[in-house]
Symmetry: C2
Subunit: 205 residues, 2 copies
DNA sequence: ACAATATTTAACCGCATGGTTAAACCACTT
DNA sequence: AAGTGGTTTAACCATGCGGTTAAATATTGT
């Protein structure tokens, strides 16, 4: 794996390059040569650092999952924020996050589709996210009559669907609904305004 | 394209096989040999009928899109159904559709991600869906005070996000939220019950 | 039985691509 | 000047896979 001397900076340059390339076109359609080019380095060095394309792909996948998950679950597990506040914060953060990373959502789904085994492997390393805080808050809100009952899982899936999906389907939606590249950010800004109310109203009794 | 004699049935067998294979693993990771095997036919014949793998992939992609879109837009464009009824019908139909076709959603997103150009090409052939009926119904519902204003596009994206996304992310969700294969259909049945109210309540003023 | 059509067989080509290697080359330190 | 860790060069190998081909063989209609 690390038979000879490695430079941390170079490793990161290659990782970042791989991130860029893999996310843009998907692992299968990406060439190691592209990654080398993107990193300003040659193919031999890429293998020298990471051995195989698959290993590099695994690293990028895990890194991607490890970036997104905490952003969502960190907020959901926060004791100090009310459910209402969480919804508002997650909507804002997720839309900003994916707006800055157009290929992120589609990449994740593509990879999980092409290599479902990897998900299990990665999940085994990082535990699944804590949902007890969320569950308690939902229960309390239900008891207080502010909310209809819903499982934490359904709640999370609703959030992700409304927030992540549009980005995953961006090329399709642009074509299907005639949203031009210029109109996209406006569309998403409108979503940022719209969704908190939509979600919260949807949960009220 | 069709230089010699073709049998309709065989062409369909190959198409169906390609559908199965492409949807399961994605176009890039699928081999023409697999398709031949799945069709109970040999590789030469696949090329004899469809020329190239890309042509076959295009056909499958268009067929997939052509199956899903009418299901959703057909209902949305229906004059006779109220918005409320449309939501209920689409929820049921979409969840049933994707439950029977586990790879469908992830496949579509993967393909659009890997080859965004194709979407535009396909869309050029089939026009974009009619939204005027839906727009009018929303306007009327808003004027009648039954609904908060929302653009038809946001409305559609919300629907698709809530309905299609979970299937696209199925392997991820199963691992992430600990939903076992056996629990999945229960999870989806619960969604079928839950979503109409969630969506309609979310739209009310 | 004959001809036309449909399908298989089995070999083959070409090429892109992942991966390897060995030697040369730098940049920096001592 | 010599050494050391990092990087390039440029060739090379192996292989998988898309695609082709020509002849053999079924299958079908007449």
């Amino acid at each position: 794996m690390a038979p000879s001397s490695h430079d941390r900076e170079t490793a990161d340059r290659i990782l970042d390059a791989a991130h860029t390339v893999f996310l843009r076109r998907g692992t299968a359609k990406s060439r190691t040569q592209e990654i080398a080019d993107e990193a300003g380095v040659n193919k031999a060095l890429v293998h020298y650092y990471f051995g195989t394309k698959a290993a590099l792909a695994d690293a990028i996948f895990e890194r991607a999952l490890g970036t997104l998950a905490p952003l969502m679950f960190g907020i959901l597990a926060d004791e100090k924020r009310s459910i209402e506040q969480k919804v508002r914060d997650i909507v804002r953060e997720q839309i900003d996050f994916h707006s800055a990373r157009p290929y992120f959502a589609a990449y994740l789904i593509s990879e999980m589709h092409a290599e479902p085994e990897r998900v299990a492997a990665v999940m085994a390393r990082r535990g699944s996210p804590p949902r007890d805080v969320l569950r308690r808050q939902i229960r309390e809100a239900v008891e207080a009559g502010r909310m209809r009952p819903i499982s934490a899982e359904q709640f999370i899936v609703n959030l992700m669907g409304l927030l992540v999906f549009p980005f995953a389907l961006r090329p399709g939606l642009s074509a299907l609904l005639g949203i031009k590249p210029s109109g996209w950010s406006a569309f998403m800004e409108e979503r940022k305004r719209l969704l908190p109310d939509f979600i919260l109203a949807g949960l009220r009794p």
